[in-house]
């Protein structure tokens, strides 16, 4: 087991390295044109461009460029040329907001998806199942940003049931914090609920027919006991893995759209604004960290999975 962990961690580091190279290539090498000009933003002056070029080493060879870029990113020496604000500060400011959104949404979607999925599986083929399937399908067809905007406008602005966007610090007022996050959580969760409930449903349906479940029933266990103890447990394993992976994806990416619509000023929104301006340094940094976060979460999930399921542990 320890061997596996070591191996997995080494693999993780290697992937992170590869990711950093890829990000570097995407932003500084592949595109046409002068990277210094690209970074400088709109209507830069010659001196500005020169300064950038020197700072990032664009007139040197590719290896130097890479090491300079990495140094800048990881030592917090990165600055946006648009806003003149340091990138790492902005990221640090936005992180708790993004995490609040992601964790809350993740819990919500997990709970609802389990209920929907399980119920759907139990009533397979009947009206309830078909109905829930339709709901799920609609859920995965809704663009997050659109439904978020609509919810915010109609439920928040027009009807006043919820605040009209914005974020309140947890430390300032927990209740208000919660209140402000209800709509964003729902918006982000809708997509995943649709998806996960169907996966759970199909997993449960597969498990229900396994022999050991039949044995449990034959032993005389109540249907509910059978369901929860035996069926759910096994069906959950792949879900848990997926959940772990998606959590990484949500924190790193999906939140971008939701934060923008609800004006939560998290990391996602920071990235979104930079994108709109084609401001390279923040996008570079956020992309890198997003990918890193996912790689780490993937590794953790793999290790947890190996821990939980002895079958897949290598010798």
């Amino acid at each position: 087991m320890r061997r596996f962990i070591v191996r997995r961690v080494i693999q993780m580091v290697l992937v992170m390295f590869a990711v950093s190279v890829l990000v570097f290539l995407i932003f500084n090498v592949i595109p046409n044109g002068d990277p210094a000009v690209r970074m400088a933003g709109r209507q830069p002056t010659e001196t500005q461009i020169e300064a950038i070029r020197k700072e990032w080493g664009f007139d040197e060879n590719i290896v130097v460029q890479y090491t300079t870029t990495m140094k800048k990113v990881f030592t917090g020496d990165l600055k946006s040329y648009f806003t003149q604000l340091p990138v790492d500060e902005e990221i640090k400011k936005g992180l708790p907001r993004t995490l609040s959104l992601a964790i809350g949404a993740a819990i919500l979607w997990m709970v609802v998806a389990i209920c929907f999925g399980l119920y759907s599986a139990v009533k397979a083929g009947r009206f309830a199942d078909r109905f829930l399937t339709i709901i799920a399908l609609i859920g995965i067809s809704l663009p997050v940003f659109w439904i978020g905007a609509l919810l915010n406008h109609y439920l928040g602005f027009k009807l006043g049931w919820f605040p009209n966007g914005g974020y309140v610090e947890f430390t300032k007022d927990p209740v208000d914090w919660f209140y402000h996050l209800i709509l964003p959580w729902t918006t982000l969760a809708i997509l995943f609920i649709g998806f996960y409930s169907r996966v759970l449903r199909s997993n449960v349906l597969d498990t229900i027919n396994e022999d050991y479940v039949r044995t449990a029933r034959a032993k005389g266990l109540s249907e509910r006991r059978v369901m929860v103890r035996h069926v759910l447990r096994t069906s959950m394993i792949p879900i848990v893995t997926l959940w772990g992976l998606d959590f990484g994806a949500v924190v790193a990416g999906g939140a971008v759209l939701t934060e923008t619509v609800f004006d939560l000023q998290g990391v996602g929104q920071y990235a979104a604004e930079a994108i709109g301006q084609l401001d390279v340094p923040p996008v570079l940094a956020t992309t890198m960290f997003a990918a890193f976060f996912i790689v780490v979460v993937n590794a953790i999930v793999d290790i947890l999975y190996a821990y939980l399921d002895p079958r897949i542990r290598p010798q």
Binding site: R3, V6, R7, I10, P314, Q315
Partner: protein
């Protein structure tokens, strides 16, 4: 019986036996040269593990120095428990698996490391029938396509293939009209017939059969074996018949080889193996064959072995069977017995052979097919035991 060789196939350049023999570079045409032989063949599979890169940490000794030759027209039965290496040998001969050491010769040509290009003309001459009738046919293809594939691969025109395929279906006892059906529409036995038809398509010289009836019901087994028997006469085929059940190979084989843990235990003319098994392992296998008559069953003396086959990653020292053999002594634990030649072309590798007279034991010689790792220690006359243990029927 109609010779399948007549007809439009004669136009095909490589169907001619003589041409291929000439290619073999002067293999003797007196018919006594073996069609296929393996010499001191070893097939080891590496087990890899490691932190960064996979390094070989152990090997599975699937086939551990086996020498066998099969003459043209002969049927060689190859028997043993699962894991003994018989399947690996069959795959090695078909070049589906790479061998680690030793030589494989087909018609005198060395094909041990032959790549795909070199094997191409030879593939017409050696074909295989697989064990699992459900897995060996592509479920998404129609039966006609499956049987016709080897013909297509070796250059036949589509027009020629269709009638040939129907003919083949009829030859193996199926309906010609079913050529457009899917494998799942047939029973297990019928699917094996399709497998046989596929193997026959190119009119090969050698057919390697890897447990062709193990997955079938007993009544169907007999039918398939009879079919194979008939086909052998009509098509002048040579068979390597791999099985784990001694009773199955009895009637088809001319000679039978018994394997255990990658090594040959005994090689014998077919009938003699059952009446006069020399190696204790063979006796044990025979004892395991159930006899329907309960009285006879009770009456016979059985050789029972204990335990499970050891791990092929770490084969036992000396005689590989010693850990389970009731007749094992110290010499068995330390020295690997050579394959000794007994009368009638009967070979056995044992320090304490059974069912042999002391004269026969004295007269044995070490056979040239003996593994290189085996010593020269032939069984002592006193050690031989002609006791009633393990009488075959």
């Amino acid at each position: 019986m109609t010779q399948h060789r007549s007809g439009p196939e004669q136009a095909r350049p490589l169907a001619n036996v003589e041409t291929t023999q000439a290619e073999a570079g002067g293999a003797s045409t007196d018919g006594s040269a073996p069609l296929v032989e393996v010499e001191h063949l070893k097939v080891f599979f590496p087990i890899k593990s490691g932190l960064f890169f996979d390094r070989e940490v152990a090997r599975v000794h699937a086939v551990n120095d086996v020498t066998l030759s099969i003459a043209e027209g002969e049927t060689m039965g190859l028997v043993g428990e699962s894991g003994c290496g018989k399947t690996t040998i069959s795959r090695a001969i078909m070049r589906l698996v790479d061998s680690t050491e030793g030589a494989i010769r087909f018609r005198g040509q060395d094909v041990t490391h032959a790549g795909r290009r070199r094997m191409e003309p030879l593939r017409r001459e050696m074909q295989m029938v697989f064990q699992d009738p459900f897995a060996s046919l592509n479920p998404r293809k129609r039966v006609g396509q499956i049987i016709g594939l080897p013909l297509r691969l070796h250059g036949s025109e589509r027009k020629e293939i269709e009638p040939q395929v129907r003919e083949l279906l009829a030859r193996v006892g199926l309906h010609k009209e079913h050529v457009n059906r899917f494998p799942h529409e047939f029973s297990g036995g019928q699917r094996q017939r399709i497998g046989v038809a596929r193997a026959l398509a190119l009119e090969p010289r050698l057919i390697v059969l890897d447990e062709p009836v193990s997955a079938l019901d007993v009544s169907v087994q007999a039918q398939i074996i009879n079919l194979l028997d008939d086909l052998q006469d009509d098509f002048k085929l040579t068979y390597l018949f791999v099985a784990h059940d001694l009773s199955v190979v009895r009637h088809v084989s001319d000679r039978i080889a018994v394997m255990y843990l990658g090594k040959l235990m005994e090689v014998s003319p077919a009938e003699e193996l059952y009446t006069k098994p020399i190696h204790p392992y063979t006796s044990a296998l025979l004892s395991a064959i159930p006899i329907p008559d309960p009285e006879e069953n009770r009456r016979r003396e059985r050789m029972v072995v204990s335990g499970e086959p050891p791990n092929p990653i770490n084969p036992p020292s000396g005689c590989v069977f010693h850990t389970r053999c009731p007749r094992a002594t110290d010499v068995c634990r330390t020295l690997e017995p050579p394959l000794a030649r007994y009368p009638n072309g009967h070979l056995a590798a044992c320090h304490h052979p059974m069912n042999v007279s002391p004269e026969e034991v004295k007269a044995t010689e070490k056979d040239r097919t003996s593994p290189l790792s085996a010593g020269d220690e032939l069984p002592a006359a006193s050690g031989a035991n002609g006791s009633g243990l393990g009488d075959g029927h």
